[in-house]
Amino acid sequence: MSELLLVPLEYAFFGRALLAGLLIGAMSGALSVFVVLRRMSYIGHGLAHAVLGGVAVGVAMGVDLYVGAIAATALAAVLIDRVTRRRGLHADAAIGVVTTTIFAIGVGTLALVPTRVNLEALLFGNILGVNRTDLSVAAAVGAAFLVLVVVRYKALVFTTFDPEVARVHGIRVDRIELLFSLLTAAVVVASVRVLGVLLIAAAVVLPAAIARLLTRGFAAMLALSTALGVLTAVVGLYLSFHVDVPSGPTIVVTGALLFVLAFVGTAVAGRLGLARARRDARPGTIDVDPIANVSR
């Protein structure tokens, strides 16, 4: 057992991947709480598509992978924010319009300009490819994420719960919304190497979905979701190493299995609770309507 855990650590690339996975797992776990409660689960999927578009255009222009990814997701985040503010258009429509357009531009660029991009690694994640730059990006995003969530925690919660009244209470809701979009974009960019473009969406939904089933309070949900993000990342990375499958799918499948466990477990607990309540309500213990008895 200990070999399974220790052998991968003998490889420097796995150590880097594990460190990046811990940071990304914690960030995506915490972020997923706000994503799920805002009912914006589609945003991870959309921004990941924007990453692909940005990377394609960036590589075609001969710049670093991250430059294209950051530019595309930041642009997508700002445009989603602007489009959502137009009355009658909700976030889902804004995400669909903006991110698929950037994705389409990227795909078109790839067709026009021959480039050497490892598409599989980009789509599904690759722990072999985690380098110092990826770690630095994850660390920088993690630090910014932590500071912003701590400093604007109450405003983020209020805006997520009731933006209309939060505005009345003096919170600059527009700024908080933009901040949230940019934070999401930053986490998505930092996650590309480990999770892959196609699977980021699950990482910013699954931890909170599991935590929602198991907790009642906001703080507990945030703590559990963050822990689950870390757990799924670590377990998924080890699986990726031992089974020789890209890291994105192993992380997501680990999260999905935990979700199934939580879903079935809470359903069974609910059924047992109902059965217990029915058993407790045996004949003779229920209040009988006296008027009904008289009329009979």
């Binding site: 409660l37 604007r152 109450k154 719960f161 009731d162 939060a166 209470h169 003096g170 919170i171 906001f218």
Partner: protein
């Protein structure tokens, strides 16, 4: 020396024309609400009741006129000391917050960069909950509350920031009679304490029985004054575009909608009946 903030009316709308984008819903409203007044805005759906509240909160597009709250012009930001309770339908009751946590959110901007609430803030929130009879429910989730308890929770969230002007959007909409009484008793108690309250409602008889001032609205103000003077068949016809009977019984006004029903809209007639006829 008097400063405008100390002597000005709680609310003053002057020549207010407002709506959403180019669509105008309010046409030249003039309305003054003095400090300590309790005012009910009534009118048919689409008459602009909620738009009046949204204009005060700088959330409707103003085409002309001014809005002043306690003597200060409302431009892009909502003035301090305004509390707002939206319609219950707009709230996610499954959001994982307790009653106390919802109320504490009302104090979010006091220690804005602190991620936690201080003991003093918690004590203040619990005091407000106690005043509204919710102290024992402070650890409940929103889903576990009745309609009246929910309204009181959101009132507590407004009060915890020392709101002096309360704007309530249909606080008695979709609730049973007991809950309606519960909500009205709370609003009345707050009014007695000196708060200025402006609420919107569809319930004409509630307005007639419990509110000292009624403003009838249909894009414009069709009448403004005590219910006994305002709720007349003529005013109601002008406001709702439908005939209504008004009964005066021992000083109380009762509005009765017993006019014969007109023909249904053609699209609502069942196809088989249309064929049969």
């Amino acid at each position: 020396m008097d400063t405008p903030e100390l002597t000005a009316p709680a609310l003053a709308l002057r020549g207010l024309a407002a709506g959403y984008g180019g669509a105008r819903i309010l046409h030249g409203l003039d309305l003054q609400v003095d400090r300590g007044e309790l005012v009910g805005l009534v009118g048919p759906s689409g008459s602009g009741k909620t738009t009046v509240l949204r204009a005060i909160l700088a959330r409707a597009d103003r085409h002309a006129g001014t809005v002043e709250v306690f003597g200060r012009a409302v431009e892009r930001r909502v003035p301090a000391r305004v509390g707002y309770v939206p319609q219950l339908g707009s709230v996610d009751l499954d959001f994982p917050l307790t009653v106390l946590q919802v109320v504490l959110l009302g104090e979010s901007e006091r220690g804005r960069s602190r991620p936690w609430f201080t003991r003093a803030e918690r004590r203040r929130a619990l005091e407000v909950l106690d005043e509204l009879g919710l102290a024992e429910l402070s650890s409940r989730s929103l889903r576990a509350l009745s309609g009246g308890q929910l309204q009181r929770t959101f009132l507590a969230r407004a009060l915890v920031r020392d709101a002096r002007l309360l704007l309530l959007d249909e606080p008695t909409s979709g609730v049973d009679l007991a809950t309606r009484r519960d909500v009205l008793a709370t609003v009345s108690a707050l009014h007695q304490r000196g708060l200025t309250v402006v609420l919107t409602t569809h319930d004409l008889n509630m307005v007639a029985a419990h509110l000292p001032r009624t403003v009838c609205l249909n894009g414009r103000i069709t009448a403004d004054g005590p219910p006994a003077q305002v709720l007349t068949p003529q005013v109601l016809q002008a406001t709702y575009g439908a005939p209504m009977r008004v009964i005066h019984d021992r000083g109380r006004v009762v509005v009765v909608d017993d006019a014969p029903l007109g023909p249904p809209a053609p699209a609502l007639v069942f196809p088989e009946r249309r064929r049969a006829s």
